[in-house]
Symmetry: D2
Subunit: 298 residues, 4 copies
Amino acid sequence: MKLGMVGLGKMGANLVLNLLDHKHKVVAFDVNDEAVKKIEGEGATGAHSLQELIENLSKPRIVWMMVPAGEITESVIEKLLTYMEADDILIDGGNAFYKDSLRRADEAKKKGIHYFDVGTSGGMEGARHGACMMIGGDESVFKTIEPIFQDINVEKGYLYTGAVGSGHFLKMVHNGIEYGMMQAIAEGFDVLEKSEFDYDFEGVARVWNHGSVIRSWLVELMERAFSKDPKLSNIRGIMNSSGEGKWTLETALDLQVPTPVIALSLIMRYRSLEDDTFTGKVVAALRNEFGGHAVEKN
Amino acid sequence: MKLGMVGLGKMGANLVLNLLDHKHKVVAFDVNDEAVKKIEGEGATGAHSLQELIENLSKPRIVWMMVPAGEITESVIEKLLTYMEADDILIDGGNAFYKDSLRRADEAKKKGIHYFDVGTSGGMEGARHGACMMIGGDESVFKTIEPIFQDINVEKGYLYTGAVGSGHFLKMVHNGIEYGMMQAIAEGFDVLEKSEFDYDFEGVARVWNHGSVIRSWLVELMERAFSKDPKLSNIRGIMNSSGEGKWTLETALDLQVPTPVIALSLIMRYRSLEDDTFTGKVVAALRNEFGGHAVEKN
Amino acid sequence: MKLGMVGLGKMGANLVLNLLDHKHKVVAFDVNDEAVKKIEGEGATGAHSLQELIENLSKPRIVWMMVPAGEITESVIEKLLTYMEADDILIDGGNAFYKDSLRRADEAKKKGIHYFDVGTSGGMEGARHGACMMIGGDESVFKTIEPIFQDINVEKGYLYTGAVGSGHFLKMVHNGIEYGMMQAIAEGFDVLEKSEFDYDFEGVARVWNHGSVIRSWLVELMERAFSKDPKLSNIRGIMNSSGEGKWTLETALDLQVPTPVIALSLIMRYRSLEDDTFTGKVVAALRNEFGGHAVEKN
Amino acid sequence: MKLGMVGLGKMGANLVLNLLDHKHKVVAFDVNDEAVKKIEGEGATGAHSLQELIENLSKPRIVWMMVPAGEITESVIEKLLTYMEADDILIDGGNAFYKDSLRRADEAKKKGIHYFDVGTSGGMEGARHGACMMIGGDESVFKTIEPIFQDINVEKGYLYTGAVGSGHFLKMVHNGIEYGMMQAIAEGFDVLEKSEFDYDFEGVARVWNHGSVIRSWLVELMERAFSKDPKLSNIRGIMNSSGEGKWTLETALDLQVPTPVIALSLIMRYRSLEDDTFTGKVVAALRNEFGGHAVEKN
């Protein structure tokens, strides 16, 4: 098939390579000219504007977006919807908040454009060689684009998840689980690190991946990370986050679902961003006031 | 090799079958005669007392224990140490608390007996067809029994972890991580279940296992569970626990390692054991006292 | 002074009585005619519509709203703004989310109306005999209404908190702290209740209120609650919530402030609303799959 | 009455002054000679050894210990029990773990000595001018020493809590609640500190203490702390702990009482002791491995 790709960052560029591997034709655009030039070198057709991208596709057009969540997605979709026409298909493969996707799907529908929200997991490697995709949107239209998903994902690695919004919702929850798993693994290694024993962490990760209950890709990745830096001594423990964990928690709160582990995983990430905390100052001040416990001075 | 197996429950019996598959000779004992009879039918030599088991082994003897943690392990080891002699090898493959293992290893050492604490993960399937084992004890003695571990575990599925105690410690932390991962996965499905979308949970578990960041054996097991009971409607959400999560948290507290996710995973298990809580009564009473908010009556 | 009161529920009615005690004149309205009739009997002037209430006040009018957060506040303010005029003063004493208050203050400002967001704490007793009020809005206009706050609150029981929005924000955070304190107290009593000792809870609450570090109004209220029902056996442990704790947590997440205790206080309230959980079912199913642990059937 | 005081630290010395105020006679000992000299200057009889202290009391002797929990308490009691005789009364007013107190009471009982475990709250001010005491031990013997508790505590500020152990157990739980309350208050101020508003924290603490639901001694202490250092800029947010919170959590785990807020209060204290965390390093490494997210280097 022929389709357009908007966004050639880590995920988008790898997806294009993946599509090309499977003999799809791709018209690719990014605001960064270098990225466009580079992907042209790989066999894609470069476009230098959204409009040019649209003009290079034939109707009904298929456009796949892989751009950062938030304002960028918003403005790209807004523009695409002005260029696209009835029966065209717009796929948002980024990490949008599902409520935004629901709203955007409504906007698209007004013009007769079919909107699909596709949650993508598997990191860069997945994008390149086979990811996991969760796809919400109109089921009958989905049939027409299903071959693409069959090609670019690992076997059984895509799922039509139901109505529009359900793809991004599912990906959001996937990431919430990911936060919890990562924090659990990390806490475990922290206990090992502070224990009286002297573990070979790479060996630990390896053995846990061979036969144990917690075998998983994340533990595999820890083996890889420890193979490069056995005590992670070059890495600062700053845990950034890009929104999906927060969305999961906010959604859980709206639905009144008790998600303490996802909540704490996120909260500990925020905690890691601070060197000192006002919370700590207040508790230290209180202990000093009632018990005369010494405070450490700045 | 020839070795003794004490304890023929779910794990022990499967381990014996696994050992027999690999041409080891096993003398097997359990307090339950039926279990002994059954394992004899599979090719093991049955023993009807610990003493008989010891007498059926030649020196230096290798005895593997696979009995429940706590009092039973305590009393079995006590008796075994009276029958065993210098240079014999005692392997505790159960889920003992590592401080108990340190103490027991000391007792064994007084008699010249080599004690190994072996943490075993992989469930019944692992015990049967290849588990993951974490082994603490004397390194040079370990070399003599290493072939057994090579045979009965999956490839790369065992690790000599260092000094005595380190095997059970590592298994304990493994289980702490397991608690966190399980709770994370469970919270995620709970959010899905309460969402506005109508997911096919079996399909969700399947797609998450093909290419996603959270692919793992636990998610595989969820696919299997949902294939039997799509909404788990036959299962009550009572989360029992058998001690390792608690030990992990207690150890983390002793070491002052912040493990909020492991802590909450355990705490939510305890919460699941109660239909109503006194905590809830107190909060409801307070809201009634200061705000006149109605309480629900028993 | 003369002012209008909109909303004669638990809080509003008590506030009117409090104002009347201090010789203020109150025109009072509620959608519930009975409530209006009742308050007329106490000395207020009843109004049967918002318009009538406004007509009974002289310019610049002071109108105090004490209505439930959300849609009701929204529609009341919308109507009031059509009747009120430049230089009038609109006080929202309810539990509105501060972002809504910021928006509403903007709307009011377009018409030259001064909007104050007043967080009120102290429960019904406070409303009646002296509460604690946190007041955001224009500082110079505040001076003109300050005598009212001086009269109806306990000594030192009001604070001009700064720009519009800061009153409701502060009240929100107050409630977040309240959630945490309540849960902490409740957990403590739960530990006592399950302990091997046989405590007199009323006595415990009393002694804690006389000289201890945790002496507080909430513990006083527990003494009162236990005096009525020594083991709270008539109360179900269902912990409802009315939004402020959730707003505090959501705001903390937006500001990336780690608030684990406030988070868990809220999450445990949600947990208390469920008899059984899907989270629990998933964990029980997993334990059954990998370890053969029995599940309890529905 | 006449009694002995062992331990003249912050709490013990203030208790002696308090006892002297109420016309009790005190024989006082501390390993620190300066402390003994100082208290002699206040009217107590100094003793330079435990033996001397005992010899200065007439039978049945009353000895009050106010020494740090753990090894010191252990060794002091051991010695005292060798000097004391049947019908003497030994009061442990420190923060001992209740299981230790149960064991010590047993030891005392063998010699016919009456042991009382007294939990003391109220900080130094309380010790000096009236604290809150929770007293476990033999009820009939308690009657004979009750006048002391009546004198030195605030009105209604002592409670006979039941069997031996119940006093320290109750104090332990009190401190668990204290941890939760402190963390809740601290989180709230942290949200305020990071908000868009510019609050006068001293004013906030003051107004919260006048009529609000969260009015409490702890909030009073915050007013005092902010009056000295309006933004606590001189204090580092290091939250030490002295054991009672940990005991409460460990006890809750043993009793399977879900105490998430107490757990998190303690865990965040531990977190505050670290500048960087291994947990954070693991999560950062994982994000880098699967998503190519940059890590911050050391």
